[in-house]
């Protein structure tokens, strides 16, 4: 709520004060509450003074929305954005109680984000050791139980360890401004797809789901952050298997069109109901469901996938019909094709 950020001590000016007399005080304080006949009639800001040539305060006043005491920060920020105001007056039961600066909220949010990130990194750091211990146990067990049935289980366990370790590494990376975080380099698309398929093959086999890969023989080159893009493809492939019933199939195809390469990951699974589609890419989405074999879901996978696609300029489209399956289409900008 905005309550802790409301300034109850504010500068006041009379509506018929001359601008030249009070201008410097308003600029110094950031705003002033304007009174006419002992009643507050509005809030004047340096922006109002800059926008208006008039010599009386009352003529420089612009209409601004009122914030209600007890409003949520998110709602207050939305009102401020829509009205392009950095400062607004706060009211409680039609009575002015103070002013709210956007800067105060921003500072608080920054501190909160930094604290959360720091806590998350501490947790991730503490997780490293137990996860590494797990890998050790898996390796020991693998040596003791060598047979083909267990081999697949150990293979799946090792893949799960690798994914967990990668996630921990991502969290432990230093915070870099998103504009500088993406290392854009050329990468070969087929190689990434083949690695992703290899990673999920055991999971697919365990669930009796066939994975078909129909890609051209040539090497297809695009550019972006290859590790992130692989993660996005991993998420889509994992979902395809998760939401397909045993006995079903997942097919990966490609199409080259003009300057783009379209990669389609199609399953014949349970599909996505229309009412869930608007929320598919939200963080901790309410559209999350348990997999067809009871697989758990965090509701984060597709949110991360979309973020990765946006930051790598990869187009993302979903077509789905309940009971028939889902197609995820990724659109990559081509930088070259090399015959194998």
């Amino acid at each position: 709520m905005i309550n802790p950020f409301v300034n109850r001590e504010y500068l006041t000016v009379d509506a018929f004060d001359g601008v030249s007399l009070v201008k410097n005080k308003i600029i110094e304080k950031g705003c002033a509450v304007v009174f006419m006949d002992d009643e507050p009639i509005g809030l004047i800001t340096p922006r109002d003074l800059a926008a208006s040539p008039h010599n009386l305060i009352v003529d420089c006043l612009s209409k601004k929305p009122k914030l209600l005491y007890g409003s949520k920060i998110k709602d207050a920020l939305k009102i401020m954005d829509e009205s392009r105001s950095e400062i607004l007056a706060v009211y409680h039961d039609d009575e002015l109680v103070g002013t709210l600066f956007k800067g105060d909220i921003a500072n608080h949010l920054m501190t909160t984000i930094e604290t959360h990130h720091s806590n998350l990194q501490e947790v991730a750091h503490d997780l490293r050791t137990p996860v590494a211990n797990l890998m050790g146990i898996i390796q020991l067990m693998e040596e003791s139980f060598i047979d083909s049935e267990n081999e697949e289980l150990f293979s799946a366990a090792k893949i799960a360890y690798k994914n967990a370790n990668n996630l921990i590494s991502e969290i432990l990376k230093p915070t870099i401004h998103p504009a500088f975080a993406i290392q854009v380099t050329p990468f070969e698309l087929r190689k990434i797809l083949e690695e992703s398929v290899l990673q999920v093959q055991d999971i697919g086999r365990n669930k009796n789901i066939q994975i078909f890969v129909n890609l051209p023989e040539s090497n297809i080159f695009s550019s972006g952050h290859s590790l992130s893009i692989k993660r996005a493809i991993d998420n889509i492939l994992n979902n395809a298997i998760k939401f397909t019933k045993p006995g079903g199939s997942v097919e990966i195809t490609s199409e080259l069109k003009a300057e783009h390469c379209f990669i389609r990951i199609a399953d014949n699974g349970i599909g996505i109901p229309d009412e869930m589609k608007p929320f598919l890419f939200e963080k901790f989405t309410s559209a999350r469901r348990v997999g067809t074999s009871g697989e758990a879901t965090t509701g984060m996978g597709l949110h991360i996938t979309r973020q990765i696609c946006e930051s790598n300029a990869v187009g993302l489209r979903v077509i789905s019909t309940v009971g028939e399956g889902t197609v995820f289409e990724l659109k990559f900008k081509l930088i070259g094709i090399l015959a194998n």
Binding site: F16, P53, H54, N55, L56, V58
Partner: protein, 117 residues
Amino acid sequence: MNERSIKYSINLNFEEIKLPPFQDILIVGKNSTQGKIGLTKSFEMLIPNGFETIDIIDERVETVFVNKHILKKMPAEKVLEILNKNVFPFISDGELIRVDFKINISIENLEVTSSEL
């Protein structure tokens, strides 16, 4: 040594003025230093209920103050139409324009019956 003497020469003239400094119509141009609310308040203090403030949508004009005597004789829309055609094109940014607007009404063919005499 001669002492310096200073002589002052003053030109003095004076005339009667009336407040407010317009009797009929005042046009407030866009971006003038005097704003609408301040002007309205000051005119109201000088001649309570004497002027009508007409806000208009025009790229040159902020507002128009019209003496109510004029509006008794001619509707506001007609007054604005005349001003728009004949005065607004000459208004520059930030100007205050005083318009003398005298209405002369003559009625022809007024019939009076003998019973009304």
